[in-house]
């Protein structure tokens, strides 16, 4: 432990902790734009400068270790002046197009400019740079970039794929792909973790809200919103609700207010996924073929396998993701049942994910019309001046509004839902304990072994591509012997997806936020009347009157898909 003084207040911190850590402990605010706990510590933004007694130069508190007896000041005139100068310089390379920026009012850079009352001082002499909007899910605008490097470090240290990096040097440095490839032809898997950390509007999701608003205004269309499990655990944050609030009821009401004709729960399709996936797993175990089986719900993970490990494509479950299954069922079963022309049904998926925008157009399917992220959905609600917090709760529409698999939104959720159904299907006996605690939690890699009807089932749960890479290596080297592995692209699962609300790093610890969102989903699961996919009456009805049985010919056609090898860099 070392003891130091910050602004004349004494504080003790662990050896190796930085001045910034110490200040946090004292609740002293130091602005940062580039620092990311345990990920980025490049000290490039120069916002966190502090004065240390006895040292002539200002020091960056994010990268300077706290030492015994240090006397640190965080708000002297010299510091304020330096911060102002740095902000003025950063602004001089910025395009100042806040009115047209998706990040407007949620931008950390803008917040600091306001706080320090910075006006344009130096003219922007930089040439206008290219905006990369080549993908269907992401926009990268270097004209807004302040080169903090957070996106680069998330791409390399969290996901371990390093698709984007700093190209060039000095004044010509830009964030980009190798050989300036457009994102669409690059090995970007669309996780969107970079959009969560960008302190400006340089990296954002591709906004599709206008398209949805147009559809709602088109009276000929039957517009359906379907919300993914993880959305309810985070949407409230956009309206200043405490983190971890389950906003399901208000979310459904607000979507109705926006003008959606029906609001369904993707939990329903998650149940359907479980029915098909468990059936597939049982078959594969029986035939001892293509094991371990990998889950296929996370589109970033799918693209990762297709581009980086195409030799493992056969291990992927052929099940479409809940999103794609929902779309397929809506435009067939639901259309028939409600007697609506499928071409008049406009399906909007509300997802915690930006890769889902890419997944939408997979295998040429037209079942889903638009995918909105949690953030875009909040944007639409705000635009309509809906007072979200004072809304009454309401329930999803039937018949596709019941689901048992809300756990899908969290790492381990697909596994847990699958294990519930798998065990009961194989043993024909109700589970004594419905919770599979071993698969829960935020660890990037979890393993468990279960005895199911006399056969040992080895499972693993992996989230974050960095961890996926490790496990794939082990699988290839035959160091592990799994039967079924759940892979999620984003660390912690969908609750931490790239389309979720921004986390204010000044106020909250990311791990804490993940924990709270996870708790929210687990609470809902605990209180659900039906917690097993195969007991969902809507699912039973769907099989009885339409699909016949899991793995039937029609189910194969509607609910299963194929994968293809993709080049990392497309010519």
């Amino acid at each position: 432990m070392v003891t130091l003084k910050i602004n004349d207040k004494e504080v003790s911190v662990n050896d190796g902790d930085t001045i910034l850590d110490a200040a946090k402990k004292l609740n002293i605010f130091i602005p940062t734009l580039c620092y990311l706990k345990e990920i980025n510590k490049v000290a490039s933004c120069r916002m966190c400068l502090v004065e240390i007694k006895g040292l002539p130069k200002l020091m960056t508190s994010c990268s300077t270790e706290a030492k015994e007896g240090m006397e640190v000041y965080t708000e002297t005139d010299k510091i304020k002046e330096a911060r102002k100068n740095n902000l003025e310089l950063l602004l001089s390379n910025h395009n100042k197009d806040c009115d047209n920026c998706l990040k407007n009012n949620q931008c950390k850079f803008q917040e600091l400019l306001d706080k320090y009352d910075i006006k344009e001082k130096y003219k922007n002499t930089r040439e206008k740079l290219n905006i990369d909007n080549s993908t269907t899910y992401l926009v990268r605008d270097s004209n807004k970039c302040i080169l903090c490097g957070r996106c680069v470090d998330v791409c390399s240290k969290v996901q371990d794929i390093s698709v984007i990096g700093r190209n060039g040097r000095g004044i010509t440095t830009q964030i980009g792909c190798a050989f300036e490839y457009p994102m669409v032809d690059s090995p970007c898997i669309g996780c969107g973790q970079c959009t969560l950390v960008c302190p400006t509007g340089a990296l954002t999701e591709k906004d599709d809200t206008k398209e949805v608003e147009n559809a709602i205004n088109n009276k000929d269309l039957h517009v359906i919103a379907c919300t993914a499990p993880a959305v309810r655990a985070a949407l409230g944050e956009e309206f200043d609700m405490p983190i971890g609030t389950n906003a399901k009821g208000k979310m459904v009401t607000s979507l109705r207010k926006l003008g959606f004709d029906k609001v369904f729960d993707v939990d329903f399709a998650a149940d359907l996924t479980i029915m098909e996936e468990v059936n597939e797993l049982i078959e594969r175990i029986k035939e001892n073929k293509n094991l371990p089986m990998f889950t296929s719900c996370s589109p970033g993970w799918i693209k990762y396998v297709e581009q980086y490990h195409p030799e493992l494509i056969d291990n992927l479950s052929t099940c479409k993701s809940p999103q794609q299954m929902m779309g397929a069922i809506l435009k067939t079963y639901y259309a028939k049942k409600e007697n609506i022309d499928p071409s008049k049904i406009f399906v909007v998926m509300i997802m915690p994910c930006i890769a889902k925008k890419f997944e939408r157009a997979r295998d040429g399917a037209n079942d889903i019309d638009v995918v909105l992220t949690t953030r875009e959905t909040a944007r639409m609600i705000k635009r309509q001046n809906i007072d979200f917090n004072s809304l009454e709760d309401s329930e999803y529409d039937l018949p596709l509004g019941i689901g048992a698999s809300v756990v899908f939104g969290s790492s381990g959720g697909v596994m847990e839902a699958a294990l519930r159904t798998l065990t009961e299907t194989l043993t024909n006996k109700p589970l004594e304990k419905i919770e599979f605690n071993e698969v829960r939690g935020l660890d990037g890699i979890k393993e468990a072994t279960y005895d199911v009807n006399g056969r040992e089932i080895n499972v693993a749960i992996v989230s974050g591509i960095k961890n996926a890479k490790k496990i794939i290596k082990k699988i290839k080297n035959k160091e592990v012997n799994y039967d079924f592995v759940e892979f999620m692209t984003c660390p912690g699962g969908c609750l931490n997806g790239g389309g979720q609300p921004y986390i204010d790093f000044d106020k909250y610890d990311v791990e804490e936020v993940k924990k709270l969102r996870m708790k929210c989903l687990m609470e809902e699961d605990k209180n659900l009347p039906i917690r097993k996919a195969h007991e969902n009456p809507s699912i039973k009805e769907l099989y009885k009157s339409f699909l016949d049985h899991p793995g039937s010919e029609l189910a194969e056609k509607l609910l299963h898909t194929k994968y293809e090898k993709r080049e990392k860099y497309k010519k």
């Binding site: 794929i161 990096g165 700093r166 060039g168 040097r169 792909c177 190798a178 050989f179 860099y569």
Partner: protein, 145 residues
């Protein structure tokens, strides 16, 4: 073609060293070469590209059979080397860093070549030309036809 790269990987200690050796083969760095290198090293291509673009010593444009270098060091610059480079651009119809379509000539402006007493200086492969006047450029280039 990639056998050379395998050899280079075997005999190099650092990425920079590998890149230097690869550049020596082709005169510049290009996608197929570096992509092969990235797969072999199990390293992201962007990490390699980002490293290479940091250094002025690496080039990403094809080089001609005859590589023209125009010195833009202080003395040469004062003595009018900029006009020389513009003249070459005009004659060959290429910009700084580019290569003619027939692959014959490429043009790169450089830092000081170390023979300021002969300023302005131009270099074609290993031939050095000093005290070059704008009017002589055409004549010099003609030697390499």
């Amino acid at each position: 073609m990639n056998k050379e790269i395998d050899e280079i990987i075997k005999n190099s200690e650092s990425l920079i060293e590998m890149l230097q050796k690869i550049q020596k083969i082709d005169g510049y760095l290009y996608f197929e070469r570096l992509f092969y290198l990235s797969e072999k090293l199990d390293m992201s291509l962007e990490d390699i590209y980002s490293t290479a673009t940091f250094y002025n010593g690496f080039s990403f444009n094809m080089k001609g059979k005859y590589q023209i270098n125009i010195c833009l060091g202080t003395v040469c610059y004062v003595k009018g080397s900029k006009e020389l480079s513009e003249e070459i651009s005009k004659i060959l119809n290429i910009k700084d860093g580019e290569c003619t379509k027939d692959g014959k000539f490429s043009l790169d402006t450089t830092r000081c070549l170390g023979c300021c007493s002969m300023a302005p200086v131009m270099k074609i492969n290993d031939d050095i030309y000093g005290f070059v006047k704008k009017e002589q450029v055409k004549e010099i280039l003609a030697k390499y036809n």
